[in-house]
Amino acid sequence: MEDKDLLLKVRNPETRNYGFNLLVRAYQQRVYNHVRKMVIDHDDADDVTQEVFIKIHKAIDGFREDSQLFTWIYRIATNECLTFLNKKKRRFFLPIEDVAAQLSSKLDLMPELSGDEIQKKLQKAILTLPDKQRVVFNMKYFEELSYEDMAEITSTSVGALKASYHHAVKKIEEYLSA
């Protein structure tokens, strides 16, 4: 089903619940994967993903379709991730490096990464990036979004995103070579 039809169903009071259910089914995996790469832990990703869809439900009537539905959803998801990580830092009075170290230690416990040292090292390298740069890197490298879509999601210019991604790649390669 196309986004336009989804929106029509969500905005019609008679089909709102059904339409929203379809929207969740259509976007849940993308949202979860986007969030999970940022927060690493499944339980945290679950909490954040639920919050993202609750925010979407509250705000969908105000969505004016100036942008694509998926970039709007990604924007909410990205903001929720950054808010979650900032809260984590504030709650435990942790500097950025310590949050990264905490997330990094979670990687060591992931069974999916056991025995795959190069993937583990890549993930640890990504965690050394500042949160916003990590979002940019993940969207470009793993999700292969266009810079134009990323610009809509992050409200940043394409030029700035290109520069950010370039710096991120450089830092990661340095880490991998160390």
């Binding site: 619940n17 929203f20 259910n21 969740v24 089914r25 849940q28 995996q29 979860y32 994967n33 999970r36 790469k37 690493i40 499944h42 990703a45 679950d46 993903t49 639920q50 869809f53 609750i54 439900h57 992931m110 999916e112 990464l113 795959d116 190069i118 993937q119 890549l122 993930q123 490298y141 793993f142 790649v169 990661i172 390669e173 340095e174 991998l176 070579s177």
Partner: protein
């Protein structure tokens, strides 16, 4: 230097089995329309402070703003007052200080006495003597 392009891209972060089957239901339950409130409930929210203000206003404007001491004293029985005064050690010094009699007070007292009692000439003479004494107090 190790190149990023040399590393195969892998989707490492897998959700637990069945997670995406349950998630829409969980979210749907969380966003389900809350139990409808009675229509008057929001009105009550605003009406309650208004009622409180109105009641406070009525009390403020209808109640005695200054206690009417004279009226309160008048409502006490003369016998009760007398009994109280008899049983109270009166410090005359304080009373004298409190009493600031002047000519007009005495005249008023005189008028009250005459207007209150119907008295015979003998008692009238006695009262006049008392008033004379008070005059020269």
């Amino acid at each position: 230097m190790k190149k990023l392009e040399d590393i195969p891209k892998k989707d490492l972060f897998k959700a637990p089995e069945g997670y995406f089957d349950k998630l829409p239901g969980i979210i749907q339950a969380r966003v389900a329309t809350p139990v409808r409130q009675p229509l008057w409930l929001p009105v009550l929210k605003f009406a309650a402070p208004v009622v409180v203000l109105v009641v406070a206003g009525l009390i403020w404007f209808s109640g005695p703003t200054v206690r009417d001491i004279e009226a309160e004293l008048a409502s006490i029985d003369t016998e009760q007052l007398t009994a109280y005064l008899d049983n109270t050690e009166f410090a005359w010094g304080e009373t004298e200080e409190a009493m600031d009699w002047n000519e007009f007070d005495l005249l008023e007292l005189q008028d009250r006495v005459y207007s209150t009692f119907t008295i015979d000439d003998t008692r009238l003479d006695l009262l006049e003597d008392e008033i004379f004494e008070l005059d020269n107090f």
